[in-house]
């Protein structure tokens, strides 16, 4: 113990000095721990977290972009298909409508022709009847004048019938 005491004395080792130095060092330690290391490590941790978060977000955005692109292409393809379908539908509908119109026009035209034909036939028959009547009368008059005799109603009928038959032939 004496040797240790001598060594301590030689090096100026004294408890008060040692304790005073330790207290000073301890104060430095406490201040550094609370005001430097803790906030700095927290800040480094926060920065690391944010960088990781940023990278994660970037990855997520990239993924979302890819998904959006795929969705956009999908929608575009669907829209194209829909448009194509509508065009086809419109085309088919147009053709059907045109056909219907054509049919209607044809029917109407045929109807007009038929009605015209009927009217013409009626007119012709009416004209023919009048003609027969007029020709019969003229034949009767002519016959009366040529023969100088008054024809009987039976003669009239016979002449008219004969004339009508001749005209009809």
């Amino acid at each position: 113990m004496d040797a240790a005491g001598n060594v301590a004395e030689t090096f100026g080792l004294y408890w008060p000095n040692l304790i005073a130095q330790v207290i000073l060092f301890f104060i430095v330690y406490l201040v550094l721990r609370n005001f430097a290391f803790k906030p700095i490590i927290a800040m480094l941790e926060e920065r690391r977290r944010r960088i990781e978060e940023g990278q994660l977000n970037a990855e997520k955005i990239k993924q979302q972009l890819a998904e959006a692109q795929a969705k956009y292409e999908d929608i575009l393809a669907k829209a194209n298909a829909e448009a194509q379908r509508l065009i086809e539908e419109v085309k088919a509908s147009g053709e059907r409508l045109a056909e219907e119109k054509r049919q209607t026009a044809t029917t109407e035209a045929q109807d007009i022709i038929r009605r015209t034909h009927e009217a013409l036939t009626l007119e012709r028959e009416r004209t023919l009847a009048e003609l027969k009547k007029e020709v019969g009368r003229l034949v009767v008059e002519t016959t009366e004048k040529v023969t100088n005799k008054i024809l009987t109603p039976q003669d009239h009928q016979t002449i008219n019938e004969e004339t009508a038959r001749q005209i009809a032939a």
Binding site: F25, I27, M43
Partner: protein, 286 residues
């Protein structure tokens, strides 16, 4: 002759000098204690200024302190291991920063060359300094031993909380490897002897830690003082020139020694923690 104000040939004593030897209960107020106060204030002011308004995008002082902390954290994490780093980092980093700062600030001209002594030429000149105002903190064994003891107390607390008292004794005294049965029984005295040596080496750790740091810094200071006073007997201005030129290369050496010793001290502390707690960390890893 004015130059000799700064060229006091001082021989650094092994002991720190009390600044007020006549005052009762002021023996602790030594020149190294004053220096420690200055270092403490310097560190605290710089760190406080750098971390007062911390921002996510750092600049200036905050940038420097953050870079330093990050480098130290990574370095000591590799030594201590991830398991213990969050617990031990503040102490080991404080040891490093404090030792490095006091070693480097101790190199500033004036430390050890301003003080009281034998009057010399010039109004403020001293031919010999008996009681320098400042003495590098680590050139005082009280400081280095104090730090080593403080660390060892923490080391014991961390070790026991990590492996437990039984685990601690088992680690030091129990048979190593796969030795079992009769062989283990026969080798038991040997393991107990080795354990005692191990305990002795643990007890001597604060001594080795403190003496290594003290020896290096004290030797460096002595070297610089010797080199400064080497040409003091030469006529003016040669004494002035030699006093600047001769120690100059050794200042660079001491700059290196300053950071190296800080690293050695703190890294050894980390290694001691690793040695006493790595078992449980390996266990966790498995």
């Amino acid at each position: 002759m004015q130059a000799q104000i700064f060229l006091a040939a001082a021989e650094l004593t092994v002991q720190p000098s009390p600044l007020f030897p006549d005052l009762p209960n002021a023996a602790f107020f030594t020149n190294s204690f004053v220096f420690t106060i200055i270092i403490a204030i310097l560190i605290l002011v710089l760190v406080r200024r750098a971390t007062r308004k911390m921002e996510l995008v750092p600049n200036g002082g905050q940038n420097f302190i953050e870079a330093l902390v990050e480098v130290l954290y990574t370095t000591f994490e590799n030594i201590v291991g991830r398991h213990m780093i969050t617990k031990v980092f503040p102490l080991i980093a404080t040891l490093f920063i404090f030792i490095c700062c006091s070693n480097w600030v101790g190199l500033i001209p004036g430390v050890g060359t301003i003080g009281w002594g034998k009057p010399g030429p010039g109004p403020w000149g001293l031919s010999e300094i008996h009681n320098p105002l400042f003495r590098p903190a680590n050139a005082d064994l009280n400081m280095t031993l104090g730090m080593a003891l403080l660390f060892m107390i923490w080391w014991l607390v961390w070790t026991l909380s990590d492996v437990g008292i039984i685990g601690f004794f088992k680690e030091n005294f129990a048979p190593k490897g796969s030795t079992k049965g009769l062989l283990a029984l026969l080798l038991m005295p040997l393991f107990i002897f080795v354990g005692c040596i191990e305990i002795l080496s643990i007890l001597l750790r604060p001594v080795s830690l403190s003496l290594r740091l003290f020896g290096n810094i004290y030797a460096g200071e002595t070297l610089l003082h010797t080199m400064t006073g080497l040409g003091l007997a030469l006529p003016f201005p040669l004494n002035w020139i030699t006093a600047v030129l001769f120690p100059l290369p050794f200042y660079f050496l001491e700059l290196l020694v300053g950071i190296l010793q800080a690293l050695v001290f703190s890294a050894l502390c980390g290694v001691y923690i690793r040695l006493s707690t790595h078992q449980s960390e390996e266990g966790t890893a498995h």
